[in-house]
Symmetry: D2
Subunit: 367 residues, 4 copies
């Protein structure tokens, strides 16, 4: 069962509310003898941390992670790794006015209908603050994925897509948007400033790419790698769509266009002439880069009043004064990387269990 856990062999469970004492997670199933300290995790949290530019929530959280278990003398022991971050800047008074009112497009209403109670402060459990623990767990997953490089970038904001010809990973850390296209970043700076000033918010699309993934990860037919990736990415707050490789564009292709033709390299390696499949065929990785994209809706916490209802069944107007992200898609970039890492680590262990002697590269003949 998965309420608040994800993964099977490499499994993590998160807990905590936005304005509770702390948030945390338990990473279970990590192989032993992997060097791991807080210093392996903190840089990823720092990338995601709020308050770093005017384009993300101004909440100030140092987000210092502590490892409470599962390591000994700097290496993992194979036992559960408990990670925790104490909440500091909780400023709960900001949220009093949405205590009884439901923000349109927010989980306020559904938590009330389902549970009849909710920690309304800062969104409680439904807050994007939970994603800090995904990033922390993802940093552990990366340690399991030796030789795999996982990167993400924002490729569309407010309907404005990057120019793929300009795509440059080196640009991603040069602007506050994780944007791989310097020209697009310049445009977005203006657009998002305008949205922020007007109390609005914008949607976005994130692309995640994993290179160096061995072939064979995934399993028929409900343990498919793309099926688990879709679940993982769709579970991120505000995500409304997920695609693999060519994604929705594939619906407009012919069979000939869609086929990724293959040739042989000099050392028996399979060379693909394109990657519409996004590195996954039949639910199983091909050895090509695994490519996924997900759409993030604009945050529902905006300063513009919207028509809504309250707990008592009265019609009201709601606007949200708290500190929010004008484009939550930005901070979803490191979260997308983390989810990719978590899915791949789980599948790597699963694959190894059933196929211990499978090749780590797409070479033919197979063994």
């Amino acid at each position: 069962m998965s309420h608040n856990s994800f993964g099977h062999l490499f499994r993590f469970t998160t807990w905590g509310e936005s304005h509770g004492t702390a948030i945390g997670c338990v990473v279970d199933g990590c192989p032993p003898r992997i060097p791991l300290t807080e210093a392996d995790i903190q840089p990823f949290l720092d990338r995601r941390r709020p308050g770093q530019s005017k384009f993300v929530t101004q909440r100030q959280e140092p987000d210092q992670v502590k490892i409470l278990s599962g390591t000994f003398e700097g290496v993992t022991t194979g036992t559960p790794i408990s990670l925790v971050i104490e909440n500091q800047d909780q400023r709960s008074k900001d949220y009093g006015e949405i205590k009884d009112r439901f923000r349109p497009g927010h989980a306020d209403l559904t938590y009330e209908l389902k549970y009849g109670v909710r920690d309304y402060r800062g969104g409680g459990r439904s807050s994007a603050r939970e994603t800090a623990m995904r990033v922390a767990a993802g940093a552990v997953a990366r340690k399991v994925l030796e030789g795999v490089t996982i990167r993400a970038a924002l490729v569309c904001m407010g309907g404005d897509w990057i120019d793929v010809a300009n795509f440059d990973w080196a640009q991603v850390n040069e602007n506050p948007f994780f944007c791989p296209d310097a020209q697009a970043a310049a445009r977005w700076e203006e657009t998002l400033t305008a949205a922020r000033k007007s109390g609005s918010s914008l949607g976005a699309v994130v692309e995640v790419v994993a290179e160096g993934v061995p072939p064979g990860l995934g399993a028929p037919v409900y343990g498919k790698l793309d099926s688990d990736l879709a679940a993982a990415l769709m579970s991120i707050n505000a995500v409304k769509g997920v695609e693999i490789g060519a994604g929705f564009a594939a619906a407009g292709f012919t069979g000939e266009e869609n086929a990724d033709e293959m040739r042989m390299g000099p050392h028996g390696e399979v060379l693909f002439e394109s990657n519409h499949a996004g590195g996954i065929l039949g639910g199983i990785s091909t050895g090509q880069p695994v490519v996924a994209r997900f759409a993030v809706k604009p945050t529902s916490s905006i300063l513009t009043p919207r028509r809504s209802v309250d707990r008592f069944g009265a019609e009201v107007e709601v606007l949200t004064k708290g500190r929010h992200d004008p484009c939550v898609g930005i901070r979803a970039v490191p979260v997308g990387e983390a989810m990719m890492a978590l899915v791949l680590a789980d599948h790597l262990l699963r694959h190894r269990a059933q196929n211990p002697d499978a090749p780590s590269q797409a070479r033919l003949p197979r063994n």
Copy 2:
């Protein structure tokens, strides 16, 4: 663990290869005392069955389902329901030439790399034939979902979208495409005929809508209804993208546009003024229709030769002479409905377990 199982409380496991003796599934966790006979399942299989028009594979399979366990005197007993369909028209000789060659865009290669062995006849386990058992299991799930209506339609073929203004559920069964727009159906008839004659294939998009879903289905944060739906739909053969509600379009919205504003109805019911959320907020159903779409790539089994490689590492050309669907998206329509039903049934039971007294409608105040 999910290799070949899906769901938790309402769980099904499928087995079988395209050209094996039979295919089947076990549905576990179905509540007792629900009337169920083969006649409840067969109509859904008949809708998905191959050989019904020139636009789907010409394989002739009666697809007669048998219930082998789990019912007694016409009702379910709470024990596992075993469903089986015998394979009849297996014509395996058609497949000899792809025994050692990998179709580009097909699971042939990845099964070989992962397992080092595969039943190549008709795609074996990776064949869309497996989806017959999803449809059968889905028919059982529908029995659990009293008051819920689940329908799907093809809304785009080969990049040609329907006109939403023409959307009419009554049209869906009036053409061989499950198309809700009579004008689009007419256009597609021409397009697909041309594609079929040229030995090509086309992609498509399917939309699934569930009406009458009670609020509260789903759970934070890895048991989200949309996360499970994404996994379910992405697990269907050839699917490359999934979206909920406004989906990728939400990436172009502002926060004001995206917000589904709410008013109160005369009996305390929450009325939404739009449904960009697709009936799900924070991973939990709102009581609005649950709306999902998924993109199906064109089948990789085409008559046009493509460059590829074989098991021995030689460069070859591949074309597929077997009987295939020029647009596999068509037969994915009943499969999409089935997956929606299976996810909802599982979540209904999960919700009931934790929240036995939750309201079945979105009314305020809650209880």
Copy 3:
């Protein structure tokens, strides 16, 4: 979730009622390229089969297993293996009189209270007939456990224990009781004949031993090997107790007596001077033989009338005229072996996933 499934990576799901059309199981997660045909499974079913001596039920079932999926040209493919046995000698008329009456000590009552419906013919789903599929699945598990020998024996019947000094595996197949002590077997012949003639039944204890188990199987603290073994053996029909190694006797030991002292062998192997632990310490296998015992109560289907109640709340007397085992413990012997194999196979895969380079023997230093 486990209603009718057991295991995680090597997972099987059984279905079917005693007097339904067929019984079957799906074995999921079996590694590929393992030779497997019906001939690998049938001998184990033959050992368990009813009707082979006057001491087991006289129901005549050939119990011919068929493999419906998951193998190709005689080897496993890594996809789900579907096994089925058709029911033949169902003689349902024998069971009419317990249709509405609850046998004391039987699941009749609890199925009625839980589900409000049950297939009463031959016990339906609660019949020991289900264990045929455990034996079939266990035969597949054995193929995964290369180098591991799993044997079981009846060590106590009707309170009469074997003399451990006489324990001889070679005797087990020389008498109708799977008894390893020829003298005890001779005594039991008389006892059980008497019980059978008087319409009574007897309890028993089965011991299962697995030799050649590599160290390292199991995991802290809810994935312990002994915890899973306890679940597996307790799930067998009529089992009321499970113990590992010294078991309940350990409650009478001092710490000094209980400690299995260790010495080093000539090749770095750990030599244990006793095996009170039953091959498991801290939930993880030591490399010693894994030893478990389980207690089987006498069957509740007896010819002596017992006071009971019926579905309508009336007080009645019940006696069972069907063909039953005077000592169900006998046929539990191959079932115990199967469950041991299934647990070990699952844990072998789990261990391999997390610790791919762990040693296969208890040698020190470790690697």
Copy 4:
């Protein structure tokens, strides 16, 4: 998958090592709106706490539990409940000498063989300290089990059984052994004092009884209540055997003796004339008290030197100077109660999901 988690719908995951910073658990799936504060949990921890008499380890731990998430304004919210206890009296220097040596009968060796690394301080993850979190989680489970009373007692120590005729629950809290028989308690005082002084340790048997359990909990055939109870109790440190109801004694019964005959009470309730079944038939609760017993071996941490080996493959002698329990069975009493509560809470939710309208009492006719 269950490495460090237990349960499905009411699921908990523990983490932490004996001498790490803290230990903790996450309880996931708890229904909402249940009053819960630390004060509901602390009394159960206090019962289990070390250092309370000379018969348990002298480690001084206040074991103050903190709730870090999952409640709001004193009630559960349906989100994961994070519980943590900081370790205080870690005195790690005591353990230096077993850093490289394996205590016979202890998990030291198997952790080394499996993982190649371990936190040897105080047993690390394999320490009974982990059971504090079971007790904490069990306290939450009790809140879900309204109307159910769960109690346990020590019924045998060092092979000396209580006299069942003297069984008195009121005695259990009147002696340092949780012994329900005042005379036995007096004897044990002497025995255990002698064992402690001689640096030895004793085994024990614990009996757990749950009254007020509704009928219908459990499921065929791998979701049986007794199967899950066996797994739960066998997962407690040092447990080597588990039995339900008559348990191993049932192996000596005839069918007539074993049958729990039934009569009808004045209000349609089923009255059982005995409870050899221990409240479970066919894996499903009958409504009678659920009765389980488990055998606890003597701790392997003793002052008497034992022959052993070390990490480097040398033969050594080991004795353990740390502060240990001369009879770990004593502190297993509250742990046994907790595991019973955790299993029942999980099954209550599972039962409710599939059978929402099942009766809460064993009455006939059923509804």
